[in-house]
Symmetry: C2
Subunit: 329 residues, 2 copies
DNA sequence: TACAAAAGTGGTAACGATACAATATTCGGC
DNA sequence: GCCGAATATTGTATCGTTACCACTTTTGTA
């Protein structure tokens, strides 16, 4: 592969001149510019990113750390991140840590090794050791934290207020006459879904309803989990069910179909995430949309903002989602 | 950020010794090893990938070029690629070119700039200029081509034999008494789907049925496209419909539901891809599965094989898919 | 004990680019 | 045509690492 030196030789100038032209300097004679450009074209010259990065630090690379194995739920978020990053000349590394703190640390170090400019950090719960490392590297590498797992850590944060949104779902159901609103939680170790549950509790309170632990179940984030939790809840005859994720809601819907329960006449169901499957279920699932593509885009924008002003105070960006009413309410 | 020189100073040895230890040399006294490791830990030292890459070429990075904007259809493939790459210590860049040759070239150059070790090249049709460039860089960067778009180019290829699989679907339907098997093609410019259509034609021939152009429609790869094509086809009263992709089949299914046509009693439908939605449609969609995760894994393995033996003759790996019979046949 | 081989360590030159200072060339005004 | 200013070009050091060779120390064997 040709180097800047080869280009200089072919064009009959010094490599310093070539370097200047590459970085768009004005102080070059038109004929020199032409000769150099011809040489670049002839040799198919492409600057070596590694050599560049060694002097001028910026690698135009962003890393995205995800807690779970790469799955459909991250698609929109990743699309948003990719698009915005590429638009700004950045490439991205996507790493899934599989909920494993050690692996997360391994990837964080790998990102330092690769001198990425920034990290979009998505995790499912606090890991003090990793947070300490993250804060240490935040001096050299821009860090944006997704969700509010690390609140109070003075790191830029981008998140959707899942609590507020869940509260609004409770209020909507209440205003439409529901009195026994059940909830299917995710695993408590997930901060993001724990927040949604808090919103549920708060919503009940503001509606003058009391929180009944018998109307709350926990489950794995799968259809199967949703089905099982619903089976237990159904004995308490709720008139509505809100779930922490759409898959749980689809499980609930599946249970109702099997039992011959009419949705929404006998019971209303509201999910969370607005995954594409929502419009394929019958009846179509009402849910809360987070607009993940926008979230990803915002995260990248904040990262770039941080890179251009490293000293500025950390910000917390809270995006709005919306309640999407389809056929299960 | 600390450098190898800092480590050497703290440990009281030369940077050459530190470098040796990092690369796992045996010829080091245990106490020296210990002192250096302590220094590395103390300083949180992580080698600079750029400086390393400048001497020893390998960057442990693979690029994946996709023709379409990052979407659900690529999820499994990407998962396979990611998993296998990470397992082998590689990171991946994913680039979507949006069916734009210029953009594809831009990304190819970017990958050369970043000195990736290999490129997994996925495109939708031949672009001579880009192919020429690809072949030129294939001397320095390992290239694996997905699908058979570039057949005859002496580049490693990994693909699923969509033609053969479609043929087997035709035979299955024929053996079950279907006589008027219609087909919904994708856009002809896609080589992968064109191959599937050839399989359809060949299947008919081998079953002793003749290809009737009135039983073939083209459409965009969307549900809407499938619905419209089916509306036209339905006038010819086919007893089965095979489609180039699942979304087209879901569109067909949607049309049948709206028209009150019973599936599979009145007409059988077979899609292609086995996207997750297949098990959500009612009746559940029969389809052809490509096992994309396996495809991705195979591509990475071939890339690594090429890296270790650059001179070996190019290979073509053809993976098997399978006909998945659900409720539409 | 002697002496070659092996083990352990260090010095220096790359890798390919950019930054900075230094030098060469052109230009404008008198 | 001369001189200073502006423009254009170049030489050299440097980034952090590894490769290679040279050197010192230890080990093993006759």
């Amino acid at each position: 592969m040709s180097t800047i030196y080869d280009v200089a030789k072919v064009a009959g100038v010094s490599k310093t001149t070539v370097s200047k032209i590459l970085s768009g300097s004005k102080n070059v004679r038109p004929q020199t510019l032409e000769r150099v450009n011809a040489a670049i074209k002839k040799l198919d010259y492409v600057p070596n990113c590694f050599a560049q990065g060694m002097r001028s630090a910026a690698t135009k690379t962003i890393a995205v750390l995800l807690p779970e194995q790469y799955n459909y739920g991250y698609m929109e978020l990743l699309t948003g991140i990719e698009k915005c990053a590429n638009r700004n000349g950045y490439m991205t590394f996507v790493c899934s840590t599989g909920r494993d703190g050690e692996r997360e640390m391994k990837y964080l170090k790998e990102m330092v090794r690769r001198r990425v400019d920034g990290v979009i950090y998505f995790t499912y719960r606090r890991n003090e050791k990793n947070i300490a490392y993250l804060k240490r590297i935040a001096g050299n590498i821009a860090v944006v934290v997704m969700d509010n797992v690390l609140r109070g850590e003075k790191l830029d944060t981008v998140r959707v207020n899942g609590g507020e949104l869940t509260k609004s779902a409770v209020k909507y159901l209440c205003n439409n006459g529901c009195k026994k609103i059940a909830y299917i939680k995710g695993l408590d170790e997930y901060d993001a879904t724990a927040e949604r549950f808090s919103g549920y509790a708060l919503g009940l309170k503001e509606c003058g309803l009391s929180l009944d632990n018998l109307l709350v179940e926990s489950a794995e984030f799968t259809m199967e989990g949703g089905r099982n939790a619903t089976r237990l809840l159904w004995e308490k005859k709720p008139d509505a069910i809100i779930t922490a994720t759409d898959m749980l809601a689809l499980g609930a819907l599946d249970f109702m179909e099997a039992e011959g329960v009419r949705v929404p006449q006998d019971v209303s169901i509201i999910g969370f995430d607005n995954i594409p499957l929502c419009i394929w279920s019958r009846p179509r699932l009402s849910t809360i949309s987070q607009n993940q593509e926008k979230v990803g885009e915002t995260a990248v924008q904040q990262l770039l903002a941080r890179l251009s002003e490293p000293k500025k105070e950390a910000v917390e960006l809270i995006l709005n989602g919306e309640l999407i009413l389809r056929e299960t309410t």
